[in-house]
Homo-oligomer: 327 residues x 2
DNA sequence: CGCCCCGATGACAACGTTGTCTGGTTCCGG
DNA sequence: CCGGAACCAGACAACGTTGTCATCGGGGCG
């Protein structure tokens, strides 16, 4: 900036005035300054500006499990979309479900003075965020609640959705239904299991411990457990899958098998309708999750200080046929 | 910081020493300072720190078409992964293929003093980046070259990959092969068309203008053009699709049709192997694109000032069966 | 002619840090 | 008992901006 000032023969304050479109600069002076800016390729330093003005950094931090997972990337995109209307940029980070990594990212973002955080929490301890929140950092949790912090949270109706899946299968006459889910320490996994159990109760299906399989996260793992579920004296005739990754693993494991169990998966995924049979799913909207979270966050930034809210977005069972296939 | 200093009864410089783990602070003093930091929830302001130290901001800017598109989100994840090894964070932005939006994002990132930019360029004019690059901002273009700027670029072998697709189809006996691609002003689209033409020439397939369809980007659009390609006196018996979105649209348009043309798609996609028939694709690695770009960028940051490089990553034809289906 | 006001510009401090330099103890060896 | 090293701690300036206030002409008005 002082280079520009020297070249234009003015003080740096005048340059500042020009780059900020402040009134009261002689047109001819402004002209000279602009020419100097152009010639030197000057671009004002936003960090310094924000520091001096005490204004926001105009950034948002988004921490999720994996930026590369389509579900989260759609969520991120929705956040970005809302942020854009507010002239803010988005910093993203993947925690890989590692609480330590999440914490590291969150504190790093706080040190960068992001205006707010949107977090898909990993693990159950988020007390480390309390001081930040007390210091005025708005935090919204998405997809799962934080273990030990009360804050705005946006969830989907995991219980209702899974119960619907069971109901759908029961309506097709299935009585032996298996559930495959993520590790039970992940909120959505345990909620969906709960929904599964409730669904069984409501639909008059006998819930049996040995048809519940939590935690496999490789194709081989899913395949092995599936073998167990479909073997034995009383094999399962239908399966509820707890998330899209497990569903995909399962499809691979089932591929080419002559007799396939009926299947309903939690989370929709691209091409589910083009498979044979088309896969029925419990659908919900990652984009809406992101939008809701971002909107909650911006409300806080605009001064909303009402008690923390918990938004639960509905799910929708999309019957595509896989729920009707009989063994 | 001065609050902490006051509470601990020291000068702010001592606080600075403590938060920076500098040697030469009496343990008891450090203890007091740490306690004060804890009590006040102090977190040092990274922007101010970077400003003062003149060090990098520790951020990277990534601009791509759509953060929510799985292809780009995998790329982003790879960039993040490399950035992480260097202790840097990633700012992302979606251009939606709008050059104006891209420019806005890029300049905003520059004003924030990101350490470098990774850009999937939209449009053909990127001269606006020249001053920034001259001022020392390293820029790497991914997936497409910039129209009018020479800089590091990471591409995939669009021409070779598409030619392989044609070769594969020709080997199955196809002589009437259609090509569906993105709008021709998108680099990858025109390159792949070129590859298609070259493939035809090399494989002895007659290239015919009326079997080339560029630009449809809705399912209905693809369906309508497909109708044309498959109708008429000399219908196409095989189709090459120029990217994963078009492939998916095409699959929907073809779904349930009794006689399907043979199909090879550029870009692999999840579940392609589970469709019926499994879809043959020209596979390439978004993750590797991202990694290569990030590594080029970091090399520049470490002072590599060799002439701009152009890296072309190979593609691999994965024959899954859809190329062999005969009408 | 003198006054005041206004338009244009600049000097200076401050944002929250950290690098440099200096001042003050303490403790050791001579 | 003194010189000097070693150790701690603080004062001050600076990073690149912008907010506040002061300065300086010139022009309109009484």
């Amino acid at each position: 900036m002082s280079d520009v000032a020297r070249l234009a023969g003015v003080s740096i304050k005048t340059v500042s005035r020009v780059v900020n479109d402040e009134a009261g600069v002689h047109p001819a002076t402004a002209e000279r300054v602009l020419a100097a800016i152009e010639r030197l390729g000057f671009r004002r330093n936003l960090s310094a500006r924000n520091l001096r003005r005490g204004s926001s950094t105009g950034t948002l931090g988004v921490i999720l499990e994996d930026v590369g997972n389509p579900f989260y990337s759609v969520l991120t995109r929705a956040v970005e979309e809302v942020a854009r209307t507010q002239g803010r940029q988005v910093l993203t980070g993947s925690s890989d479900e590692d609480p330590g990594r999440e914490r590291e990212l969150a504190l790093e973002f706080c040190a960068r003075r992001v205006d707010g955080l949107i977090v898909v929490p990993a693990g159950m301890q988020h007390g480390y965020l309390v001081p930040e929140m007390q210091a005025g950092m708005p935090v919204v949790f998405v997809d799962r609640p934080a273990g030990d912090v009360v804050a705005d949270t946006v969830l989907v109706d995991n219980i209702g959705g899974t119960a619907d899946a069971v109901k759908h299968l029961a309506a097709q006459g299935h009585q032996r239904i298996a559930f495959f889910g993520d590790a039970p320490d992940i909120f959505t996994a345990s909620e969906r299991l709960r929904g599964f159990r409730e669904g069984c109760a409501r639909s008059g299906v006998r819930y049996s411990e040995e048809l519940v399989f939590m935690g496999p996260h490789t194709e081989a793992g899913v395949a092995a457990l599936l073998e167990r579920a479909l073997g034995g004296p009383e094999p399962a005739t239908a399966v509820v899958s707890g998330n899209n990754r497990i569903t995909v693993h399962m499809l691979r494991a089932l591929y080419g098998r002559p007799a396939r169990p009926a299947l309903v998966g939690f989370d929709d995924f691209e091409l589910a309708d083009l498979l044979n049979p088309p896969i029925s799913v419990v659908q919900h909207d990652a984009s809406m999750l992101g939008r809701a979270a971002a909107e909650l966050l911006f409300a806080r930034l605009e001064g909303d200080s009402s008690p923390p809210r918990r938004v639960v977005l509905p799910t929708r069972l999309v019957a595509r046929g896989s729920g009707e296939v009989r063994p």
